[in-house]
Symmetry: C2
Subunit: 556 residues, 2 copies
């Protein structure tokens, strides 16, 4: 049944992408939009605790499903979501942010109305929301068909969020124009390569690879965003090239892959041999862009020589000063998979799981927790690491076969992991999501726990309680005053938020941790483990890190 209204059509077309959830908070300028989402039998409304949480949830969902819908209301709603949408832009996650605006009647009369500055001015929030996106559209009844195709195409081409604003009167009008129909594959919307450029790029890369004696690949998270994993795997298989991933990229290839070198984080790679392999390679083939961000390079502890680097970007290839353009990542990877010859064989030292240590009576510490977590994970699990300490300590773990990983270390917005858990779990209903977050980060967005309980999502959430913003306390070098947290009784949060059937407990010893993990695995609803872990970040960072984070900023 074709949608009869503009808002109905917008959701129809987004549902055609395979999206089956709408994350958001309703609001009165958005009611026609909220109604349209509710009326679409392919979509489930997921009412989040607030708009920023909804944006994080949409981020998590889109990372796994390829795209997500976020809906908020004019002004107050969309501005609350901005930080989450900007994070999706940084991490190249397509989120369709659909926002209802006051009716054009209200706008043309210049009325003072709520969710504005009371000045009869509209349009002033459009630019703020659009700045967090790669593409934006102001929808009318007669542009909605063309605009939706454009917005979908550009969101996937750029792999960035899209902003779609619909005045409430237009939202309920009939669509003017011939509606597009039928399911849409994102791949059909990412534009097309110029075959000559792809050919030239593949030839240039294979030539350089043929000359290299110690080449290494870096698999970028962007391969996942452009859904080119199968092309990447075919290339890895055919070329036999050893590869590493950074923290930002972790999760894009299964870590049980025989050519996997380990985590590359500059001088702080794990194992160190992975860092050595990358830094001593005579050719580093970046499959997707390699971002030399501070957290992603061990605080810029090493940099890869551009002359030894080939970058296969989302829609370009760069080799030295030579740039092939209009060649899309999946097409270049597919071409490489067909044309490449195996690289010289050599022994690589495979990464190994961390050894499990500690006795039942020992207090939980980073040393006893993380190896246990690694051992606990099994195929089908998805591990989410909150920024700050958790992502950093999860990253070096060697994940068992079939375990996914998500983090947000580039944008690094604290509080992201908890609502992201909701989105990931909804995108992957068969997976068990295991989330590790710090207490400080958790306080920002813990209200999303109630939403998980309500919708029957059953993650295992591990909250590390050390009473402070641990990562910050170390980096700031100063006293605790502004890093000391309100002393929550975290394990009582799920019940207070209505998750009475969750397994929730406070853990102090290694024995309690082992028992709780076992119980969480078999528990039929969500689990929430408050882990008392005073050691986190009690050790100062190395001097070199502090130099980068802080001292280099003093003058002189």
């Amino acid at each position: 049944m074709p949608a009869s209204t503009v808002a109905g059509y917008v959701f129809e077309r987004l549902a055609d992408l395979g999206i089956d959830r709408v994350f958001g908070v309703p609001g009165d300028y958005s009611f026609p939009i909220d109604d349209a989402a509710m009326d679409n039998p392919r979509l489930q409304w997921v009412l989040c605790a607030n708009e920023l949480n909804a944006a994080y949830a949409a981020d998590g969902y889109a990372r796994r499903k390829g795209a997500a819908i976020l809906t908020t209301t004019y002004g107050v709603g969309e501005l609350s979501a901005i930080n989450g949408v900007m994070g999706a832009k940084a991490h190249r996650v397509p989120i369709f942010h659909v926002v209802g605006a006051p009716s054009t009647r209200i706008q043309r009369l210049g009325l003072a109305t709520h969710h504005t500055l009371g000045d009869g001015v509209f349009g002033n929030f459009f630019d703020l929301s659009a700045a967090c996106c790669g593409v934006s559209a102001s929808i009318t009844a007669d542009n909605v068909v063309e605009e939706m195709e454009r917005v979908i195409r550009e969101a996937f081409r750029l792999s960035k969020p899209a902003y779609i604003q619909i005045p409430q009167d237009f939202a309920v009008m009939p669509v003017l124009g011939t509606a597009a129909r039928g399911s849409v594959r994102p791949a059909d919307h990412r534009g097309r390569s110029n075959p000559a450029e792809v050919k030239a790029a593949v030839r240039a890369i294979t030539e350089r690879l043929g000359q290299a004696t110690r080449p290494v690949a870096l698999a970028s998270f962007q391969v996942g965003r452009y859904r080119a994993q199968s092309q990447l795997l075919a290339f890895l298989k055919r070329s036999r090239i050893p590869f590493a991933m950074t923290t930002l990229d972790k999760g894009v290839v299964d870590e049980s892959h025989p050519q996997y070198l380990g985590l590359y984080v500059g001088q702080r790679s794990a194992p160190a041999s992975a860092g050595k392999a990358v830094l001593s390679a005579d050719l580093v083939l970046c499959l997707g862009e390699h971002i030399e961000e501070d957290f992603n390079t061990g605080d810029w502890s090493a940099s890869i020589d551009p002359d030894r680097m080939i970058v296969v970007g989302p829609d370009y290839v760069r080799i030295g000063d030579s740039v092939m353009t209009a060649c899309l990542l999946p097409d270049v990877l597919a071409g490489l998979a067909r044309a490449v010859k195996p690289v010289p064989e050599r022994r690589i030292s495979a990464p190994r799981p961390l050894p499990v240590t500690g006795d039942a009576d020992d207090p939980v510490s980073s040393a006893t927790l993380y190896p246990r977590l690694q051992q606990f994970l099994r195929s089908g699990d998805i591990l989410i690491g909150e920024g700050g300490t958790a992502a950093g300590r999860c990253a070096p773990l060697l994940l068992p076969k079939g375990v996914g990983f998500e983090s947000q270390i580039l944008w690094g917005s604290i509080g992201w992991a908890t609502p992201c858990t909701l989105g990931v779990a909804m995108a992957e209903p068969k997976a068990r999501v295991v989330t590790v977050t710090g207490d400080g980060a958790h306080q920002l967005t813990a209200n999303e726990i109630g939403v998980m309980g309500r919708y029957g999502v059953r993650p295992i959430i591990i909250v590390l309680n050390n009473g402070i913003y641990g990562a910050e306390d170390t980096a700031s070098e100063r006293g605790h005053v502004y890093n000391d947290l309100a002393p929550w009784n975290y394990h009582r949060i799920p019940a207070a938020m209505g998750c009475e059937d969750w397994f929730s407990t406070r853990i102090t010893t290694v024995g309690e941790l082992d028992a709780a993990l076992r119980k969480a695995r078999s528990h039929r609803s969500g689990s929430y483990l408050e882990v008392m872990i005073p050691d986190i970040e009690s050790q100062p960072l190395p001097a070199a890190v502090l130099d980068h984070l802080y001292k280099q900023n003093t003058p002189g």
Copy 2:
């Protein structure tokens, strides 16, 4: 002791305004700023649960204290706060939003760094934050003295937030230039009137007042923002003019004033005689702008004829098409208080408190709750009404002498009231803050409860539990799907967030409500009353309202 660094100087100058709290969340680009705030003996760091909450808290604090400091970190932090800062702009609340940016060394090298898009671009978030403010500045060691004086002046002149961004390396440099010193009165920073314009305005207004037979004044919240209450009271006393306030303005004059007509909300004024007096007046003197916003006029149920209206704006006076400019509100009010003659005497029907009804065994309902709340309030209390249902139902209450009131019905961002409570309570440590919020709104920002407990703030928070977004459910006319809330056990929230000495309870009957209010008054820490009140918004709004909110948006 003069501050030795740029960041130290910024806080020194803000503390000179009488501000004694810093609301915010620390972050690594902001550490030098966080340290400077910590080092200032006149300032207390208040670590909020997240940045949006911190902005709301700063809003509440600034409403009572005249100005506030908010501090967040680059990108992630400031963008999370945007909605709260924009709300302060709408409600003309000066908040100084101080944000740390990556060092200019990082910026000039174009490094990829966290809290950015990883593209070596900086500056892109400045405009987003600045758009929520009336004035903004990028601070250097050699502009900080002049810029701080400019920023303070413009923030008070416009009564709007100010954005102050400081790169972390500049933050720790010594100030270059001669520091300004000594306490600052906001009044000294609001610019100066042109005496000739003030004289002309006062003459024109008194002339029109002299001709009027049934004049009425509307006291605007802006009188409070420009700290002109004493001038207003002097004018009211001398002129004997009856006056009303709208919901947006409620709280600016004590409601025990003998000339107070009641709440003006167009056709839905309370009492109705207040609406009649305003709408039948031959002259409506607006002291501060009167904003005919939908919620403030009973959904535009009536409009005041501009020909019968005089507007005394923040820095102008408008009489018909004649505009006097460069005349500041306090100066015009002071001039009027000296020059005005008493208006013709007439009987006004004074507003009365709502009658208290209901027996101990009755379920709590709007009819039994709000009159009890009115009776409960006493001098020194400050009532805060969350947007949606609570503010609307609190507004018609006749507040006892010495009771303050805050709401945010223009910007209308749900969730505002809970963190605002923290800020108001810190600005007025001797007052008892009584906050009424809906369950839906509370879920957005409830994590601020833990912050209140931690800092020993002792509000009385009343959470109305009807299981839905009540106001929205009515306005949207449609089923509950997207208005149904996660079923929290609200009264268990304080203990879960560490407020174990709070009095927290769930209330069903009128008798329980009476007992709980009594207990809350005498309790030595905070109180949290979860009130089961299923009737809220179960009645549909009148057809006229629905026409405005929704039906007028259908085409045809």
